[in-house]
């Protein structure tokens, strides 16, 4: 488990995620009229194959520090307020949450664009890896063509 919590952001990497409502409440502030909250959920299919379970491995200390820089970048690029990024490690069954990203801003467009940019960068930069369990076995994402 790794957590960084301050006035500007809440980063949590843990095998237990809080309710999305907690991320919502964390980022809410009276000068921010827009809160955008994105959740990643384990879905039951991937490229036509049935998925029953995901497992996330994470380089927790590095992931937290990369996320901290990434959020600081986002808070410079977009006029946003508080940001929360919560990511689960270990097993995530179908229908369960793997990630929660919440961004508050004075305006909707910025809150929504910043959310998308943050997730795009997270998916490229943060050292977290997904293993998918299919009916015929399990594979790390990098193993798949």
């Amino acid at each position: 488990m790794k957590q960084i919590l301050n006035e500007r952001h809440w980063i949590l990497i843990s095998d237990r995620l809080p309710d999305p409502g907690e991320a919502h409440r964390f980022v809410s502030r009276k000068d921010c009229g827009a809160v955008n909250l994105f959740s990643g959920v384990t879905r039951n299919h991937e490229k036509g194959k049935k998925v029953s379970l995901l497992f996330y491995d994470c380089y927790e200390e590095m992931a937290a520090s990369v996320l901290q820089k990434l959020i600081a970048d986002i808070q410079v690029q977009f006029p946003v307020g508080k940001v929360a990024v919560l990511h689960k490690t270990g097993e995530v069954p179908v229908g369960h949450l793997s990630m929660i990203v919440a961004v508050a801003s004075a305006h909707r467009v910025e809150a929504i664009q910043a959310t998308l940019e943050l997730i795009n960068r997270l998916k490229r930069e943060v050292p977290i890896w997904k293993r998918e369990t299919f009916e015929d076995g399990e594979k790390w994402k990098e193993e798949q063509p």
């Binding site: 200390e61 990369v66 997270l122 990098e142």
Partner: protein, 92 residues
């Protein structure tokens, strides 16, 4: 080889961390690993590929992390560095 590595003949001990497919291939999550003093990330990766040929397949996609930051593989490694080979990530 000694000149190329800028080596004095001494060794440094790296703290390797293994994740995802590489942890499975290596069979462990971490280990201490000795390398000649003055060696850089590229040389370490070469050496690990020699020991664990299965890494070759991922090599062109691997990024190097030293002390929890992405670095260019040309960076010189130091005794006690925490080093990880980062295969393409897939969080989210």
């Amino acid at each position: 080889m000694l000149n190329q590595l800028n080596s004095t003949g001494n060794c440094i001990t790296l703290n390797l961390r293994w994740f995802s497919i590489l942890a499975r291939l290596r069979g462990k999550a971490g280990e201490e690993f000795e390398m000649p003093e003055g060696c850089n990330g590229e040389v370490l990766i070469d050496r690990l590929c020699d020991e664990l040929p299965e890494i070759h397949k991922y090599r062109s996609h691997i990024r190097l992390a030293v002390n929890r930051e992405y670095v260019d593989p040309s960076v010189i490694l130091h005794d006690g560095d925490e080093v990880a080979l980062i295969t393409p990530v897939s969080g989210g």
